[in-house]
Amino acid sequence: MTDDDGAGLLAPLSRPDHAALGRLHERLGREAADDGLLDIAYRVIDSPVGPLLLAATDRGLVRVAFEIEGHDAVLAVLAARVSPRILRFAARTDEAARQLDEYFAGRRRAFDVPLDRRLSQGFRRSVQEHLTEIAYGRTESYTEVAAAAGSPRAVRAVGSACATNPLPVVVPCHRVLRSDGSLGGYVGGLEAKHALLALESAA
């Protein structure tokens, strides 16, 4: 008798039961969260600027990521920098998802969810904290943001703080433009930046 015979005999048992696995996955997320084992819960939502990854720790939203950033790569970085105890589990980001839906529908101008800013430190973090003060529908130049963050000469550093914003859309780095009014860069791509600014100027 060979191994192939045995595996062939059992082949009918090898079909994956997708319905059961979906149910078990949901239960695992819930029980892991209850047991304090779910360090990062994430989901992917649809939006007018493409699929957005939302990831949250027990402290709050820790990462929002555009598809062009590569969601797998983003999760790998979270595993290395925060914890590998990561599961797709929607419940923890329900409120953030609801507020983003309202925002994209033009019915919300500010986000009110707890943020976990542990992925940013130092000057970048002060810049990103200032960004939240730029009102909906308004823009600032990189130079103005540098001045507001207390380092008027650090214009390039403001650029990299925006480029490394771990919470785009919610922390509005899309509201920062070049002094001549051109778009500059954007972590989600220039098309997304343009779409967000158009959304906010239309409302």
């Binding site: 191994d3 045995g6 005999l9 048992l13 039961d17 999760l75 990561i86």
Partner: protein, 161 residues
């Protein structure tokens, strides 16, 4: 270290098959959930070069042994062989007979068959999980498969007559 979600995505189906084979369909969901919760708890300390599949099967095996022991202690009647799970309700794809036949195997054979033939672990890994020698694990798997073949053949004979 990859996100645990990837571990579930890559090995969830295999672990479910193992749980169904070892504890039967009724307790398989609990065994699967307990396996992945225990794995999630221990995951950050898992060595980078560990064989994740063998690690998960070992956890599942231990959970299943606990579940079978607990079931053997249950006061309500559970049939003549407390360690043998009831067969999977036939899902209409012809696999029902095989699940029943697997369920009727003695525990060691059932485990050796599941870990070697369903998961694909080498006999040496199976022996490490079950205790005992590699030869004993190989024999248990071979005896189990022969027994399955006989009972399935008998089943077909019975269906024909």
């Amino acid at each position: 270290m990859k996100p645990f979600e990837r571990v579930v995505a890559e090995h969830g189906a295999t672990v479910l098959r193992v749980c169904r084979a070892i504890v039967g369909p009724v307790d398989a969901d609990d065994a699967w959930s307990e396996t992945f919760l225990a794995a999630l708890r221990a995951y950050p300390a898992l060595p980078a070069d560990a064989n994740v599949e063998a690690w998960l099967v070992t956890i599942a095996h231990n959970r299943a042994v606990d579940l079978l022991r607990a079931r053997a202690r249950r006061p309500e009647p559970v049939g003549e062989l407390p360690e043998a799970p009831s067969g999977r309700p036939a899902p209409g794809d012809g696999s029902g007979d095989i699940w029943q036949a697997v369920a009727a195997l003695p525990p060691k054979q059932r485990q050796a068959v599941a870990y070697h033939f369903l998961v694909g672990l080498p006999h040496a890994e199976v022996a490490a999980i079950l205790g005992g020698t590699t030869d004993a694990a190989r024999r248990a798997a071979a005896d189990g498969i022969s027994s399955l073949r006989r009972s399935l053949a008998a089943e077909r004979e019975g269906a024909r007559s």
